[in-house]
Amino acid sequence: MSEITQEQVAHLANLARIALTPDEIESLTKELGSIVDNVAKVSEVATADVPATSHPIPLQNVYRDDVPGNTLTTEQALAGAPDHDGSRFRVTAILGEEQ
């Protein structure tokens, strides 16, 4: 059985800005634990000489030429913004007054 704890789940939820109820933390702890257990089976067959995969397609060095392309207009850029001042996105201040 994996060693995922309720504290870890609460910590992750906090980092991800997700509010969880105690019930949710309890059930997620179990679910995450079994996911980690299942994934861990892979390490039983993967030996040290198998590099970790970050991408399923065996490609590398896919580059773009350094040539400017089209950009959005300011109106387009701001179209989906919850709030703006006509040219910039407006967001809530996220830090409190300096102590």
């Binding site: 980092l15 060095n61 040539v67 959005l72 996105f89 967001v91 201040a93 300096e98």
Partner: protein
């Protein structure tokens, strides 16, 4: 905010050894951004140089700028690093609206370059080798303007406005290993290190490297460790602070000195150093506490699934290695010889971080001595008076034009200083300032002779002395003429004419 108590610098060095580390961010001057074809340009109208990728809009995908990869490899090689046979991008997850995606694409455990060193020259001529841990590629963030609150700073702001023009600009972050042994020269080493990085990226032609524009930014880590008696094992490393927002060579040096004095006083008073980010304030020359290191620094890096590994071929690496400019130390030796500077003259220029400026001014046509004279003299003086960086005040090409105007006799030194101030204050090129203000030296003898005759008539005793052969008496007349001409005359020519006219009387 209470003013921090500072220990005397020499006393602090007696009790503690400063231990340093730097993170320097270099904005690459590619034509487009790191992962999108948006122009690599910011500072204009907000949110005009962005694509869906810069905003992290659903369905958009990043694609790596191949030129940025080549620039990064060149920089890694110039830093004496090994280039990773294969490196990957990673997501650095954090919630802050300077990037719209809630993560920054960076590199984590597989940086493109690692394990190098940079030789830095200290003011006393000693060479200090700064170990480089790694250099990795990442994207710059957007610019936030905090509105409301009492200070205009981030603390206490009511809301923030975001411009994403800078989001996605290619960056290389150069991270040093822990630097021991700088001792009392720690502030000077910090400045010399950043100046050397600047020299390197300018020589490579991969960055505009203007600190005042944020093209080159330094975060300075510093901790103090208590000295132990000879024979005893060294003490444990102290807790470090990371000072951000250090945007000039001068500030790098001042910030390190300040943090040494501040931390030493706290430790000597029995206090502890908080591991935190500190903000440098150019105006007061102090740092203040930012955010403490916390859970928020748990970035949960993972490999960027939208991007493929960067696997540079050995041929490409060797091609870029062969194209490297000469290393900074060799370049310094060559320039010193080419320019014919004395040790002292060269060190003055170098310690002021003006090698790039003098070099570009010479390239634009000025003599090395004239370039040195203006950068180390008048421009540095104005920079000091205004607490600004000399390089931010005026372009090397304008200094070269100014020197050309002096050499042609159109300006004398006094007028040239006025023209320089005009250029610095935004009056355009030297020639434009000359034209706009009518500052050129009067080279037509007519008005000079009229002024001389008037001055001689007003001072008959002086005229008599000159006629008696007391040539030094002419000084009084020359002074009066220069005053009448509002300084816009060539004093040597006035002297010639004064003696001529006096003899003819």
């Amino acid at each position: 905010m209470a003013k921090a108590k500072l220990m005397d610098y020499d006393k602090a060095l007696e009790l503690f050894e400063p231990v340093l580390g730097f993170e320097v961010h270099v904005e690459l001057s590619t034509k487009t951004k790191m992962f999108s074809s948006a122009p690599n340009y910011f500072g204009g109208e907000p949110n005009t140089n962005i694509t869906p990728t810069c905003l992290g809009l659903p369905g958009s995908l990043p694609v790596v700028n191949g030129e940025a990869v080549r620039y990064s490899i060149s920089l890694g090689l110039a830093l004496g690093c090994q280039i990773a046979p294969s490196s990957r991008f990673a997501r650095k997850n954090y919630f802050y609206p300077d990037l719209a995606k809630n993560y920054q694409i960076s590199q984590f455990d597989e940086p493109i370059a690692f394990g190098g060193s940079v030789d830095v020259e200290l003011p006393d001529g000693r060479t200090f080798t700064v170990p480089i841990e790694r250099a990795h590629m990442e994207e710059d963030a957007g610019k936030l303007t905090h509105v409301g609150g009492s200070t205009g700073r981030i603390q206490g702001a009511e809301y923030s406005l975001v411009d994403y023009n800078r989001a996605g600009v290619p960056l290389v972050e150069i991270v040093t290993d822990i630097i021991y042994g700088a001792e009392k020269d720690a502030p000077e080493l910090a400045k010399a290190y950043v100046a050397t990085i600047r020299d390197i990226v300018v020589a490579l032609g991969i960055s505009d490297a203007k600190m005042e524009r944020g093209n080159l930014r330094c975060d300075a880590n510093i901790s103090l460790r208590p000295r132990t008696a000879p024979g005893e094992p060294p003490a444990k490393l102290g807790t470090r602070t990371e000072t951000k927002n250090v945007n000039s060579l001068r500030s790098v040096e001042r910030a390190i000195r300040y943090e040494i004095q501040r931390q030493a006083q706290i430790l000597a008073d029995g206090g502890t150093i908080t591991q935190e980010t500190r903000h440098w304030h150019e105006d007061t020359g102090t740092t203040s506490a930012g955010r403490p290191k916390s859970d928020a620094d748990d970035y949960r890096y993972f490999p960027e699934p939208d991007l493929l590994p960067v696997v540079p071929s050995p041929e490409l690496i060797e091609e870029l290695r062969a194209a490297l400019p000469e290393p900074p130390a060799a370049r310094r030796r060559r320039l010193k010889q080419e320019w014919g500077f004395t040790d002292l003259e060269f060190q003055d220029v170098q310690n002021a971080g003006l090698l790039v400026e003098v070099s570009e001014t010479v390239a634009a046509g000025a003599s090395p001595q004239a370039a040195r004279k203006w950068w180390s003299g008048e421009i540095s003086r104005i920079a000091n008076a205004r607490s600004a960086e000399a390089s931010s005040l005026v372009a090397p090409a304008d200094v070269a034009s100014l020197v050309a105007l002096i050499d042609s006799g159109a300006l004398n030194d006094r007028l040239a200083r006025q023209v320089l101030e005009g250029v610095i204050d935004g009056g355009g090129s030297p020639q434009e300032v000359v034209d706009a203000r009518g500052l050129a030296v009067v080279s037509d003898d007519g008005p000079l002779i009229a002024a001389i005759d008037e001055a001689l008539a007003a001072q008959p005793d002086v005229l008599a002395k000159i006629k008696d052969g007391k040539v030094q008496a002419a000084g009084a007349v020359i002074g009066a003429v220069m005053k009448a001409m509002k300084g816009q005359a060539d004093a040597a020519r006035v002297r010639e004419l004064v003696l001529e006219r006096a003899a003819a009387e």
